[in-house]
Symmetry: C2
Subunit: 228 residues, 2 copies
């Protein structure tokens, strides 16, 4: 008897046409390929991707749920318009949700997960040394780190909200506002303090540090955008 799927009951992971389309469009929107604020023509997009309008419509519906497009009856869908105000709002929501995530992570992350995150962080540290605090870290590393903390909360609602809804919107801003941070060294340190609090199983402190971390991240963004 050979090795098959892991012991889990493997539901046949069917990927529907709408699924693929949704992923494609989401990526295109996040990366600015489809311009922010632009109108979406159903017939045209459907033709471009070789699918029927029905399938496209469902995909657009999901994008709407993630607040990447806005839709008005009979007028059609537009890609959301990015704004400074909205970005601040997102940071406020993140502060609340990720603060709670950190609190719960301090209670619920397994020792193994904490150890893995520790190595990930060490890896980041090395990269910062190398490139002297350059871009890569903030761009992907930061997201990875936050992603793991959120997962560590084990709260599926929280995870869904942050990793499905907000995550992509935030990525969209990072892409299109060119938000490379000049404080990766400081962010790295903050990540360390936070992880220590989690490892010490101190929920109160973990939440506090996460909120501070996101707040300074927000201030950094504010400064950066005002220069512009």
């Amino acid at each position: 008897m050979q090795n098959r799927q892991p012991t889990e009951k493997s539901d046949p992971v069917t990927i529907t046409l709408t699924d693929r389309l949704f992923d494609t469009l989401q990526r295109a929107i996040v990366e600015g390929e489809i311009q922010s604020g632009s109108k979406i023509s159903e017939p045209e997009l459907a033709r471009q991707h070789g699918v029927s309008r029905g399938s496209l419509r469902e995909a657009i519906g999901r994008l709407e749920a993630r607040k990447l497009v806005e839709r008005k009856p009979n007028l059609g869908a537009r890609v959301v318009t990015l704004s400074y105000e909205q970005l601040i709002e997102i940071y406020q929501v993140r502060e609340a949700l990720e603060g709670m995530a950190a609190r719960l992570a301090a209670q619920n992350m397994s020792d193994r997960e904490i150890a893995e995150l520790q190595s990930l962080l060490d890896e980041h540290g090395r990269q910062i040394e190398e490139v002297h605090g350059e871009a890569y870290f903030q761009k992907q590393g930061d997201l990875d780190y936050h992603y793991r903390i959120v997962q560590g909360s084990k709260n599926r609602h929280l995870i869904g909200l942050l990793c499905n809804d907000l995550y992509h919107l935030l990525r969209m801003y990072r892409f299109q506002f060119g938000m490379r941070s000049k404080r990766s060294r400081q962010a790295y340190d903050e990540h360390h303090y936070l992880l220590n609090a989690i490892a010490a199983r101190d929920p109160e402190m973990a939440e506090l540090l996460m909120r501070q971390h996101i707040r300074s991240s927000r201030r950094n963004v504010e400064k950066m955008l005002l220069e512009n």
Copy 2:
């Protein structure tokens, strides 16, 4: 020249078939008319409501976005199954988000809104006197109160998450778990303290009080469900 619509640019508020269907189904699910955990047959539901499957499908998609139904490819949609664990998770998310909402409300609510909320609260107080702390308050009054605070945050993301996504799921639990609170007097008092903090424009205190309020509300639910 006669009075017309208020000065706002009145986009023709067209209500699409899918919209109506969505509202109907949402109500039915929240109130338990369509049983929690039950499978949804598209052809049957479509026939019952006299619409095509396409429209129904879009409505189901929106319900899925609000986490009122779960969908698996080729297997169809089911109404979510309510669970104790999930309810706790929702309270944790609420604590984070509404805490932030209260903080922002202390900064952003207008004096007028605060005054109105004050009268609403007085009204509640009278009702509690009358019926000696009976059901009505917790059921609708509590929701109204929280709703206004959230609106007062002026953060559209926060408002969307709480008033669109979470609100109905929470109502579903209240309906189906028969969650009438025996602590309406205490809740009323807590509402008062919180409003005072908001009126004093003290964000820190407002957040603290809101979080405490939701936490005790959660503890109350825990107790109630363990008795059962």
